[in-house]
């Protein structure tokens, strides 16, 4: 019996030692040779929300190809592998394991949205996966996670900027806010942020209505908002339901000032809605497709070079931006490229300029928080696109 117990302990120790050493081995020399760097990312490319992943994924690959054509980084060519998770956390975990264990990539640049990233937290830590999640959640950088670098302004900050704008800039008497949201994490966070911020300005929130992503019709929501006398509607939902909402509102001749956050701020909204989008203002943490900044000019050049005609332009711009940050990190890490040197390199960013793709980027060893800045864009129905309404703005200190 004693022998059995001893051998069980020995087996456990050997297993632990094996796991520890493989973990270290996987993290140290992974994905890097003298002339190449292998990177991976997990983004949805099939299923109902594939439209959100495809432009960003294409952009991430396009930028690295563009860099390769310019000679690569520090003499190394970049190879990028894209795994599809169907926007499901379990598939994202499996895809990450495949990229790390079988493909042996240096890092997984993004593991997908909020749920997917949360599901991968242990893997991120264990395999030292330097990554930028494709979602905006406080828990990604507060408290600090050494290998996660946040992408853009939190949903809460975006809605704070929107309500600040409504209070300070919107010329309208007797402001009455109605909120249309989805019962998903970003929708509920948006609703809470709007209610808290509006309370500080004493602007009444007169209606809160759920609009699911796959809603057939938004008639009851529009009628209820009209009935409640809302002259401002803040939406906390993604693009397709907002398009349905705006078209339904047009049908009922209901023309409130409508606001939306980054996942509903795209040129496609104006193209899809036409005149129904005339009162739309959206927040975003990437520049606009028509900007004349060097970064956006480069985005257009890359899209043309690789024959891309992205329908969701904001996501394509964001994808280029994410790859640009990684490319700069790899460059700064130098020849000794490991997950840790890449992480350390990203932590040297001080007001790194992406040429107008993102606001200036700063990461330090103490904080991987994103810039607290967004731009507001308004619909230009004639040009069928969104045009900047403001410069980069942060929520006011109240």
């Amino acid at each position: 019996m004693r022998n059995k117990g001893r051998s069980a302990r020995m087996t456990a120790l050997v297993c632990m030692a094996f796991l520890f050493t493989t973990g270290l081995a996987l993290a140290s020399g992974r994905g890097v040779t003298d002339d190449s760097v292998k990177l991976g990312f997990v983004l949805v490319k099939t299923g109902p929300v594939a439209a959100l992943g495809i432009p960003q994924g294409n952009a991430m690959i396009d930028y690295m190809n563009y860099i390769n054509e310019k000679g690569g980084i520090n003499g190394r060519k970049i190879k990028v592998l894209w795994e599809d998770d169907g926007f499901q956390a379990p598939k994202s975990v499996a895809a990450v394991k495949k990229l790390i264990a079988r493909d042996k990539v240096l890092t997984v640049m993004t593991t997908g949205g909020t749920n997917q990233t949360i599901a991968n937290m242990k893997n991120i830590k264990r395999y030292k996966m330097v990554n930028i999640p494709n979602a905006m959640a406080l828990e990604f950088f507060d408290p600090l996670h050494p290998y996660i670098f946040a992408l853009g302004a939190l949903y809460e900050w975006q809605y704070q900027v929107i309500v600040d704008y409504i209070n300070d800039d919107l010329k309208m008497k007797d402001k009455r806010i109605g909120v249309v949201y989805t019962k998903k994490e970003y929708g509920k966070k948006g609703l809470d942020a709007v209610k808290k911020r509006a309370a500080k300005y004493n602007i009444p929130v007169v209606a809160e209505l759920v609009l699911p992503t796959g809603a057939v019709d938004a008639s009851s929501q529009v009628l209820a908002l009209q009935h409640a006398g809302a002259n401002i509607v803040i939406t906390c939902d993604v693009l397709p339901p907002i398009i349905s909402f705006l078209k339904t509102a047009e049908k009922y001749n209901y023309w409130p000032q409508v606001f939306g956050f980054n996942w509903a701020t795209d040129d496609l909204l104006v193209k899809a809605c036409g005149p129904a989008a005339k009162n739309y203002i959206g927040s975003g943490f990437v520049g606009s497709w028509t900007d004349d900044t060097p970064g956006i000019k480069l985005v257009r050049e890359i899209a043309k070079k690789y024959n891309r005609k992205p329908k969701l332009t904001s996501l394509y711009i964001g994808g280029i931006g994410v790859s640009m940050l990684f490319a700069e990190g790899i460059k700064r890490a130098g020849k000794d490229l490991t997950p840790d040197t890449l992480k350390n390199a990203l932590e040297t960013f001080r007001d790194f300029d992406t040429g107008g793709i993102f606001p200036l980027v700063t990461y330090t060893p103490e904080s991987h928080a994103p810039a607290k800045k967004v731009k507001l864009f308004k619909a230009d129905v004639e040009k069928k696109c969104l045009v900047p309404l403001t410069g980069w703005r942060s929520p006011k200190d109240l």
Partner: protein, 293 residues
Amino acid sequence: MYFLELVISGIAVGSLYALIAMGFVLIYKATGVLNFAQGEAIMVAAFICYYLVTRFGVPFWLAVPLTLIASALLGAVTERLVIRPLLGEPVFSVVMVTIGLSIFLRSMAGIIFGHHNYVFPSPFPVKPLQMAGIVLSHNHLWSMIISFSLMLIFFFFFKFARLGLGMRATANDQDTATLMGINIKSVYALTWGISFVVAGLAGVGLANVMVLNVGLAFVAISAFPAVILGGLESIPGAIIGGLTIGILENLAGGYLDQIVGGGVKDVTPFAVLFLVLMIKPYGLFGTKEVERV
């Protein structure tokens, strides 16, 4: 007025649910199978119409009949390749195959049409119809007209037409129907074809009010309570079920969402579904089956 507006818009949405529900009922009525790929038939038809109009420049009023022909062919081919080999097998097996078919069609649609969001170039005037302050879009009006017309057509078809009676007989008992000289293989192919045509009409109607993407297939789930409410084998039941669910959804959304914190609108159809299953398991117009042993 607010109440009336909610009811009218509920009828408009309900007529779309009714069209979807009718597709389910047609197949069930004739074959005893619940087709879980009905949503995918709707989505594929919507994409076909979209491509005809936008890529090939076919006028909308010509694209619709072409779409319906394509839908009928898809339905018949589906029956021939997927369903007919299972003739005589337990219904459960056939239902499982329809689930597989739904996944297959959705994946193929993703590969062929892509996963983007498309906006259907609606042929209807943007300005809605207005009567005594009540607003109704042209698209919804057409959905209502088509739903009620189809209800009448199918009512007479199943009541008086030889083929319709054959379809009912086949659903009732395949062996007896065969002995009576009914070609059940043709009946099955025709049923699937007609059901996919109805799905095609629903697809074109939905694509006009929603954003078109592969996820359109999931709208069929919203219509499912309408099928259960009306009774799985009743065409008028599908219409009344669809309209009832549409109205209830809108009233719940208009009145209760504000009071109980939102989301009641989406729960209402399923709450109704549970209630109906408890009180009238065969639906309002379904046929109660009595087995004597």
